[in-house]
Amino acid sequence: MHQTNVLEYLEQTVTRLPDKVAYADETDELTFAQVYRESHAIGSALHRRGCYREPVAVFMRKQPRTVPAFFGCVYGGCYYVPLDEEMPLFRMELILRTLNARVMICDESTRETAGTLAFSGEIALYGDLASGSVEPEALAGIRARHLDTDPLYVVFTSGSTGVPKGVVANHRSVIDYIETLSETLGFSESTRFANQTPFYFDACLKELYPTVKFGATTYIVPKQLFMFPIKLVEFLNKYQINTVCWVVSALTMISSLGVLEKAVPRYLRTVAFGSEVFPIKQFRLWRQALPDAAFFNLYGPTEATGMCCWYKVDRDFALDEVMPVGRPFRNTEILLLTEQNTLAAPGEVGEICVRGASLTMGYYRSFDRTSAVFVQNPLNDRYPELIYRTGDLGRRNERGELVFVSRKDHQIKHMGHRVELGEIEVNVSTLDGVSSCCCVFDSEQDKIQLYYVGDLTPTELIPALRERLPRYMVPNAVIRLDKMPLTPNGKLDRKALEAQTQRKEN
């Protein structure tokens, strides 16, 4: 019988390795048996509340127990929606309003903040839910009615209109992703992950699900260690971490500060990275420090369930070369479409479009935004078939490998996060004392620069923005202008501001 639910990973592993540690951080650890028991209790508690086939918000400090909270939602026949203390209250409320969830699972450290949110549902404590009784018959009934096309989670990503978009992924696309990712990167029972990415995006799927699939172990790295790289390497060695799937900026933070000359994460064998271009100078330092490790460049949008392309580094690159994103995972196809909706010729630039079971279902309560990018495959005029248009431009190099070129719009990658400059601009514009604004991204320096006109001083503007936007979306530099540069047509002259940003850097 083929797998239709991600929980089958856990159920197979727990019989084999009940006492092995599944998820841990520096203060807490959970075995597979504990994960199994607590997630069953949470599923039962949700069932008793009448929750079924609906979203459940999970607002917990990032910790091992967040994972059984996710699984508990699934046992209850629901789908989880992660919220995080890193999110500003304003953003959480936007998300909660979109969701209309009846239950939010909190812990002791978040319950107070949760109480201040505009949320009319029940705030339930993890500890209360997880210590309740299990109702095996009810959970079995829920499972019997489950389909692999039912949603598993909703994660919210930046939206250019100022309202975050909730990407809905189902079991089938996540299973498809975890299977193909695992065979490509060679995960196994002996894999020891160090998790860096937040739990409120799809990036953490790479650790959370292979851990239950193989009976591996995930160690959650305290966020503070990413400020102090020597301590970070000590952490990796202390827990004998052999596999990391991190954003590029977390890796370059270690190499660019000269840490690898002094401390090497000596157990590392698999280093996967993505979401950003890896500067070759920094990459060489890593390869030099870990000559026996395998390095993988991954690429993929949240809308296609995490990553969909991979390249295993097999050669050296010149400093000005860009590492390819390679080829699609098994069971996924990449179509490079020109503006005329034809396949791009070798070397020609086209929009990267994804086809296959890895496609997510679309955006939560946002049918218009969904149908704008989840579209009929223009190469197929015979039957309905969706592809996802990423908005990324790419080309195939002379080796046939896919190479990322640029974005079609104003979406950027900043410190590994996907950001719509438009969302920042909408939030700046809503502040009192700002009449107009424009954000420019300096990719060389990885800096977001904000230009604006208004009475508000930069000192007043930044704290106001921090209340509305996540930390990584707050501009790195803020410049007040007397007036905005305009094009001859009277439109805001973004190119002039980009040129000004470049001049300032040089």
């Binding site: 790289p229 301590k231 401390a263």
Partner: protein
């Protein structure tokens, strides 16, 4: 010291760096800030902050950071 305060205030205009002594412990600075501070300080003071000096104690206050810079300048 004024040059250092200027760098810090450009990053966090809302913080009083002359009095705050728990910039790391109170989570005022995050990893982006640390990287920005290291790069600005090395450009402004022409010193390289070695990896083993990138520890919480050296970044908890402007005074501690300034003491580090002076130490590095003397070497």
């Amino acid at each position: 010291m004024d040059r250092l305060l200027q760098i810090l205030e450009d990053i966090h205009p809302e913080v009083d760096f002359e009095t705050c002594g728990a910039l790391v412990d109170d989570k005022i600075l995050d990893s982006l800030d640390i990287i920005a501070i290291i790069s600005e300080v090395s450009a402004e003071f022409d010193v390289a902050i070695p990896a083993e000096e990138i520890v919480p104690e050296n970044f908890n206050s402007a005074q501690a950071l300034y003491a580090l810079i002076e130490r590095l300048e003397d070497e």
